[in-house]
């Protein structure tokens, strides 16, 4: 699984929760999930659960809390998927 595949899968997971639909058109690794995409902070736990299910990994709470950007999420998934 390469970075592009993980990136696309994460965007697909984020999409229903994105309030700033315009930002989706230019989404990139440095796009901030809450600040730019306007995802409700309460929904981050649902996004983590979906990421776990999609990639077959377990995300620790302390790791999830460090995720700010789409790129952070991609890096986390690639790291955990390698360990799995």
């Amino acid at each position: 699984m390469d970075q592009k595949e993980v990136f696309d899968a994460i965007i697909a997971i984020l999409k229903p929760f994105v309030k700033n639909r315009d930002a989706l058109a230019t989404v990139a690794l440095e796009t901030a999930i809450q600040k730019d995409l306007k995802v409700n902070s309460a929904r981050l736990v649902d996004i983590v659960l979906e990421i776990e299910d999609r990639f077959g990994i377990e995300v620790k709470d302390e790791d999830a809390e460090k995720v700010r950007t789409v790129g952070d999420a991609v890096t986390l998934v690639l790291r955990e998927a390698t360990h799995a």
Binding site: K15, P16, F17, K19, N40, A42, R43, L44, V45, D46, L49
Partner: protein, 426 residues
Amino acid sequence: MAPERVVVTGLGVVAPNAHGKDAFSRALREGKSGIRFHQHLRDCGLACQVGGIPEGIDELLPRYFTEEERLVTNANITFAVIAAVDAWTDAALPRIPADVDEVDWDSGALIGTGCGSVDVIAEKLVPATNAGKVRRLGSTMVEQSMVSGNSARIGGLLALGNKVSTNSSACNTGNEAVIEAFRHIREGRAKRMLAGGSEGHSKYSWAAGDAMKVTCRTHNDTPEKASRPMSATAGGFVPGSGAGVLALESLTSARERGARIYAEVLGGHVNSGGHRMGGSMSAPNPEGVRRCIRAAIAMAGVRPEEIDAINGHLTATFADPHEIASWRDALDLAPSKMPLIHATKSMIGHALGAAGGIECVASVLELYEGFVHGSLNCEDLHPALTAYADRIPHATVLMPEMRVMAKASFGFGDVNGCIIFRKFEN
């Protein structure tokens, strides 16, 4: 300062026999039943395997909810939102877009429910908790399982800044919401209130009534005949679901906007019978019922003989003849002089916390359009009601001159609510 006059300027309804006020009006006029057989009730061993469930709802969801909101809804909240947004739109009130930081401080919502979102609690919250998988529940359980989940969602969608709350008084819930919202506007605390009730179609809440043997178990093969208010062969109520919401507004606000006015709320009263004098958890104290009706009429300032029609509680249990006796005593009219008496539940079943809301929508439509719909399935009138035979229509009666409609609901817990609507007169 004189109290504000309160009028109805919008209607929203999701009923087992129709969605939307126009389709609902047609369904009422045509005597269209929304009661169907449901295999999942048989599979669970319920004795009553028929019920009223609104149809075609999944296709409507994209019109009312964003993709994210669809992940966080359930039957109760979905019905409430559709009816409330429809009422708001029907009243031609403007919607503040989700990305605009403005709030309508003059508008609120009081949307009740009897059982809340029992399906979510039973199917998700309890099993996951018992299995030690709380983490897997995610973020959406609180807003779905909290009883005020219906009004809270509506408040956010419409940017309401006045009172937003959910009341609950069993089968009187919807009526109580309309009465309390009416009083809220009357006292000048809000200009507009969405008011009514919603109820999901959870087999779990229906199972509770089934176990108590208060639901109909005699017409599983003939669902459209199952809901039989005032019939000699009534065998219990048929559970229903949906939502009914009125947009209530001060007359001042309605006039400023040039809004269409369906009817005026002249008066309303809520009380209880204290579980004494024949009242109990499951039966009304007749003195409480009489007092409730009389207080609503007194507040409305109408004489009993001015009431053209009664949209009763009338659920198809043993209580129907007692209810009509209470109406007769409260109005102090001979049976032959009584208003027309009819039961919307004969078409849609008993929608519990939504019943009052849906039936208020029916009452206001009837008043505005000048008709009284027929009561289905009571051709074999209960023997105690023989004297009222010509006051109980079996098919739609056109009444263009109709001015006053009384709507009552009576609920478990010995709680009562009565509203007097009048065709709007300047």
